[in-house]
């Protein structure tokens, strides 16, 4: 009887602490979003602004999947499964950007020529 009560009590505590973790994370995410807005108006080098934006976006992305989506508490297999999709998706994105960013890929034709 007391064991049951003890298990129930510890589970209630775990849920309660999750509640605080969720609320705190949401506040952190809101602050990071504010920082993203701030960064684009700061007099910094473009490469630094882009790096900061991508880093903050990555932090928010990982925080949401790790805590809100419970990957922290779930089996590692789910993390691996999701990152397979993420790596293929972002890899495709970078590959396409590199291919189309090459000089030989610069589009030509009337639509891309400045009017006299």
């Amino acid at each position: 009887m007391s064991d049951t009560a003890s298990v129930a009590s510890s589970e209630a505590h775990a849920h309660e602490s999750k509640f605080h973790v969720f609320v705190q994370l949401a506040m952190v995410l809101a602050i990071i979003t504010g920082l993203e807005l701030l960064v684009i108006y700061m007099p910094l080098a473009i490469w630094l602004i882009i790096t900061l934006l991508m880093a903050m976006s990555a932090i928010k992305f990982v925080a949401v999947i790790w805590v809100f989506m419970h990957l922290k508490w779930d089996k590692r297999f789910l993390t691996v499964l999701f990152f397979i999709g993420t790596v293929i998706g972002s890899g495709t994105l970078w590959a396409l950007l590199l291919v189309h960013g090459a000089e030989a890929s610069t589009p030509i034709g009337p639509a891309y020529e400045e009017l006299g």
Binding site: V64, D74, I84, Y112
Partner: protein, 285 residues
């Protein structure tokens, strides 16, 4: 077995010993789907960026039409909806149906606010900015990317509404399938309230924008205003407690699967917001 466990509150929501992987099937399916959706959105974002890096002559400057304040507000709303969704899952894992309903309703409202912002944004771009799906390559890639995301949000809202109504299924089987009919009317009331509510809210905003005030609004839009109030009353009536319900901790996996989808919609926006909107103010031509 599961209902006994549910009553005791001892369900392990992260592992399932009855499956070969040790992971609940619904959760595994949802993660596999989300992984495939990552590839889908990766391609859409790549397509948008490629065309933005090579804009044709005379293309519209997005900075002329973007409203960074509106988009930032939408981003904040979507983030907060993710918090409510997480709290909803947390509540149902404790078997707290009433709190779950409140959190689901909050998520629905925030999702609708995000969608309303997107409708306003698209309307503004077309009517004021002159940007359509086909008159500019920027319009084609922008509307395809953000429109696909918006469609995901809309599907998520529909799923949330259906889950909310599902929480009212009575535990007493002797009531037969009458709850399905009541659930259908509940859904119709919800849908009608969203449509009428948005219409009456937009009419109110429009009346104030034109400098007419409440007098003009009530003389022209009284039926839609009273209709919205009546529908809101209907929603309260449907939500009235009618005894025990067949929804509890054992259904946590259903709410969690839906939550995974909703959070995914949020993380896609976490990528779209800086890449599609913020970068325009920094580097894109």
């Amino acid at each position: 077995m599961s209902s006994t466990a549910a009553a005791a509150g001892h369900i392990d929501h992260h592992h399932d010993a009855t499956t070969t992987t040790g992971i609940p099937h619904k959760k595994l399916f949802m993660w596999a789907f989300l992984a495939s959706d990552c590839m889908f959105f990766g391609s859409l974002i790549a397509t948008h960026l490629i065309y933005r890096l090579h804009p044709p002559v005379g293309t519209i400057d997005p900075r002329d039409i973007f409203s960074i304040e509106l988009t930032s507000g939408s981003t904040f709303v979507l983030l907060m909806s993710s918090l409510l969704m997480a709290l909803s899952v947390n509540s149902i894992q404790k078997g707290n149906v009433v709190t779950t309903r409140k959190m689901l309703l909050g998520t629905i409202v925030f999702g609708l606010i995000f969608l309303g912002g997107q409708v306003y944004e698209f309307n503004h771009f077309v009517k004021v900015g002159g940007l359509t799906l086909s008159n500019d390559v920027f319009g084609s890639t922008f509307y395809t990317l953000t429109g696909t995301h918006g469609t995901h949000v809309a599907i998520g809202v529909l799923w949330l509404v259906l889950m909310y109504i599902r929480t009212f299924k009575p535990a007493d089987d002797s009531a037969g399938q009458g709850w399905i009919l009541r659930g259908l009317f509940h859904f119709l009331t919800f849908t009608a309230l969203v449509v009428f509510g948005m219409y009456t809210l937009l009419a109110l905003i429009h009346a104030f924008e034109m400098g007419h005030g409440f007098g003009y609004y009530f003389s022209h839009h009284l039926p839609s205003f009273t209709g919205s109030l009546a529908l809101l009353g209907g929603l309260f009536w449907f939500a009235k407690p009618r005894g025990a319900v067949d929804f509890g901790e054992a259904n946590a996996i259903d709410v969690e699967s839906m939550g995974l989808y909703w959070h995914f919609v949020d993380i896609v926006w976490i990528v779209i917001f800086p890449v599609v909107y913020l970068l325009e103010y920094v580097v894109l031509p």
